[in-house]
């Protein structure tokens, strides 16, 4: 509903304004005639000291109170031009107030100066050129105070995360008409925690014996403004019993002052993984043992280097080259019972030393309104990766992943619904850690952290399908929905807490699940499908975003679907 004047009244207002203009032009004018205009007192032609006071606040010293019921005395409006040297002193200690009436005409005269210089203050660590990188104004430019770029560039500076506060102001330049743009910044701690992960896992000793529950933890920390250059240097660590993963990474968001981003990382993993679901036997070197899993012990060492560029405000393209040296050891022979049939276990990694070399391209479209607690918009990525020959002839594969999520703000109580879908396929001989892992889709199993798998368990198998025979696969899809209920919104330390519940269906499969499905399953059960659920809280804080989810704990409850057929 519009609160502005009805058209008939607006016409009368224009007529009244015309009279005022006529007055300015020296034409006839009487107070009586003005009083007959049936509209509000002409605020644009009355000096404030005659206005009736507002009822709540105490009247100001220069605005003596008058009865609200008394029509205001009319004072001839002063000149329309901006105040200059000819201002009269009609306020104590101050100059007069000048009015200029108009229906938009006055707005057409912007306040503009010539920018003489830009001064950056408060940047003790951040280099001046890093600040100026975000400021689109240059000395010598005409500076329009109403230019939306002024405020936008301020938020851009805030968005870097380098500063707690950014304020723009103007001060006089060396000559009339020249101004200096002063940028006051308050730097903030730029060491941030990106990720903390903790949980319980059911893993095994290197000999394949099942252990009691063990803990795992991960931490990802970064300095986002290294030596004031705007470059990010980060490190991450994940560890569990017998497993360790390390990462170091950097990101230069404006490589050599250009619009190109350059990022890279170094990785080291000394980890193990667990293969086989039931009646696992392995020989190493000449002992035949039967435990719950055959364990692969492997190390990864290498890194990646990438360049990226924003194609638009919401679209980003990255290209990464990756080179890794792998060293794996695992039983000489291993078998498992897969649907009543004994089959060899394929570990999908070359024994001893091997080289992984890939090129990855990622296109990302992001229209979310918030990175951690979005309420609308979407986030979509398409990733393709190919093993490069001849440098990486050990693993020749191609992979494509498509993922999209969309958030909807519901019409009641700010609740939010997220729908997401994922589909991926791998062709060729990708190492197992590059394949799709059921724990990445099932909330009841711990996710991989820095590429390390902590848990040996098979999925819940709530639908009683062949999914229980699958650990890694070359095909995967996931359909998921999440419902979020905002509980708290704040402006200090904790910015938001939402309760969430999510659920979905996923599938992970390999070629042999289609060509040689396990004999123990028939009909619908031959399709490796499972359900997943989660409950918890999402917290957005000044230290980062945190998720407290219950599914990891729920995963240990002895409520599970059908186990492997051979068990």
């Amino acid at each position: 509903m519009s609160g502005f004047l009805p058209a008939s009244v607006a016409i009368r207002e224009r007529q009244r304004r015309a009279r005022v203009v006529a007055l300015l032009l020296g034409l006839s004018y009487t107070g009586a005639a003005f009083a007959q205009v049936p509209v509000s007192p002409p605020v644009d032609s009355v000096v404030d000291r005659t206005d009736p006071p507002a009822p709540t606040p105490a009247p100001s010293a220069d605005a003596p109170a008058t009865s609200a019921a008394t029509p205001p005395a009319v004072v001839a409006p002063p000149e329309a031009a901006p105040p200059g040297n000819g201002l009269a002193e009609d306020e104590p200690g101050a100059r007069a107030e000048h009015d200029s009436a108009g229906n938009g005409g006055s707005h057409a005269v912007p306040v503009r100066y010539t920018l003489e210089a830009i001064q950056v203050r408060g940047n003790t660590r951040t280099q001046r050129r890093v600040v100026l990188r975000y400021v689109p104004f240059k000395p010598g430019n005409v500076f329009d105070v109403d230019d939306p770029e002024v405020e936008l560039s301020r938020y851009r500076l805030l968005g870097t995360g380098f500063f707690r506060d950014v304020q723009y102001s103007l001060k006089k330049g060396s000559e009339r008409g020249l101004v200096v743009l002063v940028i006051d910044v308050a730097e903030r701690n730029t060491i941030v925690i990106n990720d903390i992960s903790m949980g319980f896992a059911a893993d095994e000793a290197r000999n394949g014996r099942v252990r009691r529950l063990s803990g795992y933890a991960g931490l990802d920390v970064a300095e986002t403004n290294l030596a004031g250059t705007g470059i990010t240097l980060g490190g991450a660590l994940a560890f569990a019993s017998n497993q360790l993963a390390l990462r170091v990474r950097f990101l230069d968001p404006a490589f050599l002052g250009s619009n190109w981003m350059v990022g890279g990382s170094l990785l080291y993993n000394d980890a193990e993984d667990f293969f086989g679901t039931s009646r696992v036997k392995w020989i190493d070197p000449d002992r035949v043992t039967q435990f719950s899993s055959a364990v692969v012990d492997y190390t990864r060492f290498g890194g990646s280097l990438g360049i990226g560029r924003d194609l638009s405000v919401s679209t980003q393209l990255w290209l990464h080259y990756r080179l890794e040296s792998l060293n794996a050891s695992y039983p000489y022979e291993a078998s498992q019972s897969r649907g009543f049939a004994t089959e060899p276990i394929d570990f999908d990694i070359i024994r001893g030393r091997s080289v992984l070399s890939t090129l990855r391209g990622t296109l990302q479209v992001d229209t979310r309104d918030h990175p951690f607690l979005p309420t609308r918009g979407s986030f979509s990525t398409i990733t393709t990766e190919v093993g490069l020959l001849p440098a990486g002839r050990d693993y020749d594969y191609a992979r494509i992943d498509v993922q999209t999520s969309r958030w909807f703000k519901l019409p009641w109580r700010e609740h939010v619904l997220r729908l997401s879908a994922f589909g991926g396929a791998i062709a060729g001989n990708a190492p197992f850690f590059e394949q799709y892992y059921v724990g990445d889709f099932s909330d009841f199993l711990p996710d991989r952290v820095l590429g390390v798998t902590f848990d040996h368990r098979y999925p819940k198998n709530l639908l009683g399908t062949e999914i229980v025979e699958v650990r890694y696969g070359k095909y995967a899809f996931d359909l998921n929905a999440e419902y979020r209920i905002p509980l708290y919104r704040g402006h200090h330390t904790v910015f938001g807490i939402d309760f969430f519940g999510s659920g979905g269906a996923y599938s992970v499969a390999s070629d042999r699940d289609f060509t040689h499905p396990p004999r123990a399953y028939s009909g619908f059960a031959r399709f490796p499908l499972d359900l997943t659920f989660n409950l918890g809280f999402r917290m957005d804080t000044s230290a980062g975003g945190f998720v407290f989810a219950f599914s990891n704990v729920l995963g240990f409850l002895p409520v599970r679907g059908q186990g492997p057929a051979g068990q």
């Binding site: 609160g3 502005f4 009244v9 224009r14 049936p38 509209v39 605020v43 644009d44 507002a54 009822p55 709540t56 606040p57 010293a61 605005a63 609200a68 029509p71 901006p82 306020e91 100059r95 107030e97 009015d99 200029s100 009436a101 229906n103 006055s106 707005h107 005269v109 975000y134 105070v145 109403d146 938020y155 968005g159 995360g161 304020q167 941030v192 990106n194 986002t224 705007g230 990010t232 980060g234 990022g263 560029r309 924003d310 405000v313 980003q316 992001d366 309104d369 990175p371 607690l373 209920i485 509980l487 708290y488 402006h491 910015f495 938001g496 409950l535 804080t541 000044s542 230290a543 975003g545």
Partner: protein, 232 residues
């Protein structure tokens, strides 16, 4: 465990979950701030058959904001109000607005105040903060309704919102996208978990306005300021 006891346990879990879900919005509601009430003046111009509203909200401009007024860049103060019949329906009878854009001219050493209110807009110049407050932190005889909208001799109240530097939804969206993805000229994008967390900090600040004040007026019968000839 029998299937029956499993079912009972499942039902208990569901009931507990439902209780939690029902309780959470109540907790959220309990955290909402109560809207303050303040005095206003409604004037009924019986001759023009127009309703005017006068009310003050100087508290929205605290010393910090007063200091910012003289920084040379515009500060916008927007007052919007909906007029309701006291004890009536939840639908407002009418709405009104008053906007003020204050810019300190560094060379003229005066504030340029652009005021827009029903009927038109104007530009004023003042040299004092008091002059700005008088124009922008109070509304006097702001047209708030017509006879067609406001029934006669009815107690009224207004529900008002004052915003300092409000941002239009389009600008908010643009800002948020920029903040989310400043990598073109600045830093990592959201794919890098690196910045997603603390850029949220700024997005929280880029709300609807830099500062916001909401209040209601006490129910009041409008004062007739210009009795019509019939009433005389």
């Amino acid at each position: 465990m029998t299937s029956r006891s499993r079912l009972q346990r499942f039902r208990r879990t569901l009931a507990l979950l439902a209780l939690v879900l029902l309780a959470l919005p109540a907790v959220a509601r309990a955290q909402a701030k109560p809207v303050q009430t303040r005095d206003a003046l409604f004037e009924w111009d019986a001759e023009a058959k127009l309703l005017y509203l006068s009310i003050g909200f100087r508290d929205v401009i605290d010393p910090e904001l007063q200091a910012k007024l003289s920084r040379g860049l515009p500060t916008t103060i927007v007052f919007t109000a909906a007029i309701y019949r006291s004890g009536g329906s939840a639908q407002p009878l009418s709405t009104t607005a008053h906007t003020c854009r204050v810019t300190w001219h560094v060379w003229e050493e005066a504030y340029r105040v652009e005021i827009t209110r029903p009927g038109g807009s104007q530009v004023r110049w003042t040299t004092t903060v008091e002059g700005v407050l008088r124009r922008c932190a109070e509304v006097r005889r702001l047209l708030a309704g017509t006879a067609a909208q406001i029934p006669a001799n009815t107690p009224l109240f207004c529900s008002a919102k004052v915003q300092v530097n409000p941002l239009s939804p389009e600008v908010v969206q643009k800002l948020k996208l920029w903040v989310l993805r400043p990598s073109g000229t600045g830093t990592a994008g959201p794919s890098d978990a690196l910045f997603s967390t603390f850029t949220g900090l700024f997005i929280q600040r880029v709300g609807e306005a830099e500062r916001e004040l909401k209040f209601n007026s006490r129910p009041l019968l409008p004062v007739v300021v210009r009795p019509s000839t019939e009433q005389k």
